[in-house]
Point group: C2
Chain length 195, copies 2
Amino acid sequence: MAATETTGKVAPEPIKAEPPSVTKYFALVEVVLRFLLFASALVAVLVLVTSKQTKRLQFPPFPLVITMTAKFNQSPAFIYLVAALSVTGFYAVISTLLSFYSLLKPGYFTKALSHFVVLDVLLLGILASATGAAGGVAYIGLKGDSQVGWMKVFNIYGKFCRHVGASIAISLFGSIVLVLLVLLSVYSLSKKIPK
Amino acid sequence: MAATETTGKVAPEPIKAEPPSVTKYFALVEVVLRFLLFASALVAVLVLVTSKQTKRLQFPPFPLVITMTAKFNQSPAFIYLVAALSVTGFYAVISTLLSFYSLLKPGYFTKALSHFVVLDVLLLGILASATGAAGGVAYIGLKGDSQVGWMKVFNIYGKFCRHVGASIAISLFGSIVLVLLVLLSVYSLSKKIPK
C-alpha cells in the first residue's frame, strides 16, 4: 500500500511490490485450508453421529433373540470426539468467513490472523487428543485385548465399525489441516519481519 | 546491542533500548518452558515404564493361584505414549541446549526459533493424540464398558493404575507446555513486525 503511494521518485523500489501479492497468496491458501477444516469436521461429525447399528443376535439351538445396539454415545471417547469436532466445525465456519472477508479487504488480515493462530493451536491440541482417544478405544474394539479379557466387538457391528473408522480418519485429516494452518500463520508472520 | 553503540548523540532514542530486553525475556521464558517440557517428558516416561505390577490372585475355596502381570507394553496405546514421550524428551534436550546457547548469544535466536516452532507444532499433535489414546484406554480400565462387556481392571492393579494415571497427567502438562511454546513463538514473531 505504502509503496504505491510514492510515485514521485524515479524507479521506486520494484522489489517492494512483491509483499502484497505474497500476502494475498497466503490469505487465499488460508481460506482454502479453513474451508477444508470446516468440511472435514462436518463430514466427520455426520459420519460418527449416523453410526447407530442395531443387531439381532440369535443363537441357533435356542429360540432366544437378543437385540443389541451400538451407538457412538455409549463410549465417552466418541462423545469427546463429537464434541471436539463440533467445536472445530463451528470455529471453522466463523474463521472461514472472516478470512474470506479479509481476503477481499486485506487490511484486516493481520489482525484476524494474529487472533486465529491462538485458537488454531488450542483446537489442534483438543482435536488431536480426541482423535487419539477415539482411535485408542476403536483399536480395542477392533483387535480386543486378550490380556485383560476385553473381547473385540467390531466383528459384530460392521456398519458401526466402518463409520467410526472413517470418522477417525477424517478427524486425523482435520488435525493435519490445523497443523498446516498454524505453520502457515508462523510462516506468513516470519515473512513480514524485515531482514 | 546497536542502540548501546551509538553513544555520540544526545539522548539516542531511549525507546529503542526496549526490543533487545524483550527478546532476552522471551528467550529466558523459552528456555524455562523447554526445560519444563524435558522434565515432564522424562518423568512421564519413567513413571509409565516402571508401572509393572505382578498380582497373585487366589480364589479362597480352591488352592489355585493365578499370577497376573500388568505392564505398559500390553496395550498399544501405552506403547504409543512411551514413544511420543521419548521423542518429545529427546527433542526437548536438544532444543533446551540450543535455546540456552542462543540466550547467551542472541544473534542465533531468530534462526533457531523459526525452525523449532515447526517441530513444536508437530510434536504437540503427536503428544496430544498419544495422551488422548492412553487416556481413552485408561478410562475403560478404570470404569469398564458394560455395553460391550469390557470389565474394569484397575481395581485389581492399584500400583499400575496410579502410575498410568500420573503419567497421563504429566503428559497433559507437557502438551500444555508445548501449546505455550508455540504461542510464545508466535507472540515473539508478531512483536518483531514493524507497526
